[in-house]
């Protein structure tokens, strides 16, 4: 079976032999940064075109199909346009914070990338508190949004930012609790352990109904945390025109836009890792032959396949449902999702203690 492990370890051995350890770490960091930025750019372009085509097909349209083959270069052309546009800073804005906000949002999105395993033995940083790290860092992105809304000196932006703050703080809870229910099963916060524990079946199949409930809650909370419809109150188009990024233009707007899509990718990657086994192929208990065939599909294909399936589900939500109102949004969290996920965690703990899962 093909593995990235060979490549990464041979690169490291070669670097260690050539340079002293400090320079090795620095060179490796540069390589990782370049790879991360390249992944970001590629993901942004792919996800934007994917969203537009998915939306178009659900809306009985064709979508962008003129630029490049099947319109695949449309998002590249859009990016070029955005780069060439003037990055306007409004007169009354707090200029420093206004210009800082998009970078904060972007840096947070980049930081979350670290502990995610993209393929077998292909992970930037296999930290032993991976899940904790993820939930800690992902809460920071709200600071960028609040900063953007406040610094714009625009009432629409401020309202969007405030809505976003209330929303993300609330939905962190149920997202955290549903993630915890998988941690209870595996007994480890390390993401590579969680993936390894799913070798004989994914948690969504092994964990009975509580795992399915946890997954549903997770996907709802993930949609809310990324400010996507039906929870897109922060940028509710028909109410706040564009919410917190009303005043942004050019590349600064593009960074917000890109960060939104990267965040979707990341929450879906986390969902895929926790509930669908990350890069782990589809294994069924003791069917040796079947498992063997599944192993032939590269692990990165499994990871990206699962992630993009979840992304598709989130897009499906967006193009089907109307938006919630702010009080209903908080009601949903505090009256429905939080009690259910707490009860679910209890159930999951009982299952884990009694060893009822497979």
């Amino acid at each position: 079976m093909f593995s990235f492990h060979g490549i990464t370890s041979s690169v490291q051995t070669w670097l260690n032999n050539t340079f002293n350890p400090t320079i090795t770490v620095m060179i490796e960091s540069v390589i990782v940064i370049l790879l991360a930025i390249a992944l970001f750019a590629a993901l942004g372009l792919v996800l934007v075109i994917m969203e537009r085509r998915v939306a178009a097909f659900m809306q009985i349209r064709l979508g962008p199909n003129r630029v490049g083959p099947w319109g695949l270069l449309q998002s590249t052309a859009d990016t070029l346009k955005l780069i060439m546009k003037e990055g306007l800073t409004p007169d009354g804005a707090d200029k420093f914070l206004f210009n800082l906000a998009p970078f904060i949002v972007m840096i947070v999105a980049m930081l979350i990338l670290a502990p995610i395993g993209f393929a077998k033995d292909f992970q930037i940083w296999d930290i032993n508190i991976g899940v904790l790290y993820l939930s800690a860092i992902s809460s920071i992105s709200v600071i960028g949004i609040l900063m953007a809304g406040w610094a714009s000196n625009n009432k629409y932006s401020l309202m969007g930012a405030m809505r976003s703050g209330a929303q993300i703080v609330s939905y962190e809870l149920s997202a955290g609790l549903s993630v915890l229910s998988i941690v209870v099963l595996t007994g480890s916060l390390k993401l590579s352990d969680i993936v390894a524990s799913q070798e004989n079946g994914w948690w969504i199949f092994k964990g009975h109904i509580p795992a399915i409930i946890a997954f549903v809650i997770f996907i709802i909370a993930a949609t809310a945390e990324t400010n996507r419809a039906p929870f897109d109150l922060a940028e509710a188009e028909s109410e706040l025109t564009a919410g917190f990024h009303t005043e942004y233009s050019g590349m600064k707007f593009a960074l917000f836009f890109l960060a939104e899509y990267i965040n979707i990718f990341i929450v879906c990657a986390i969902g895929a890792t926790l509930f669908f086994g990350g890069w782990m192929p589809f294994h069924v208990g003791s069917w040796e032959g079947f498992n063997h065939i599944m192993d032939y599909i590269p692990s990165s294909v499994w990871f990206f396949g699962k992630t993009f399936f979840l992304i598709f589900v989130i897009m499906w939500f967006r193009w089907t449902f109307p938006r919630l109102r702010i009080d209903q949004l908080l009601n949903l969290e505090w009256k429905y999702l939080l009690p259910i996920s707490m009860f679910n965690l209890l159930l999951m703990t009982i299952i884990a203690i009694m060893g009822w899962h497979f």
């Binding site: 659900m58 009985i60 064709l62 193009w319």
Partner: protein, 158 residues
């Protein structure tokens, strides 16, 4: 009792959401339902309805003859001042003066395609054409002369 209602609420809500998703999912998986017309590409097959009102044209037959007597009924019927008829006086073989049109000026930029001029015309000299691509780079081109050069009134039209 409270718990039963609570679960019923959640069940009903999830069911209604899934019903909606089933519909959008149906359209997503059935690309034959797509209704987009790729306009400049389908120009050859695009057929406008026969009564479609695109612009006013004057009908000329193969002898370059039209039916406009220059009565200016259309000019009067037009609500926007779109039509201006400039008349001249032809000398008939009998030596009499006879009114005929010199220029039928049509301002496409003012026209709202209301069809009142066509209705008013007593000799059916003008009609609405099905063309609809009217954009030009110079707005002077929108002021048109409807009667062809050298055309004359058809025999027997009064």
């Amino acid at each position: 009792m409270f718990l039963k209602d609570y679960i019923k609420d959640v069940y009903g809500a999830v069911k209604s959401l899934l019903t909606g998703m089933r519909l959008t999912g149906y359209y997503f998986t059935h690309p034959k339902e797509i209704i987009t017309q790729q306009y400049p590409d389908n120009r050859d097959t695009l057929k406008m309805a026969e009564r479609f009102r695109g612009e006013v044209v004057m009908l000329h037959d193969e002898n370059n003859e039209h039916a406009c007597t220059g009565c200016s009924a259309c000019e009067l019927a037009c609500p926007n001042g779109t039509i201006k008829i400039i008349n001249k006086f032809d000398i008939t073989p009998e030596g009499k003066k006879k009114k005929a049109i010199d220029t039928f000026v049509y301002h496409l930029e003012l026209c709202t395609m209301c069809n009142l001029c066509v209705m008013a015309c007593p000799t059916d000299a003008i009609k609405m054409a099905q063309t609809f691509e009217h954009s030009v780079f110079d707005r002077n081109k929108l002021t048109k002369k409807l009667n062809h050069d050298g055309s004359k009134l058809r025999e027997g039209v009064e």
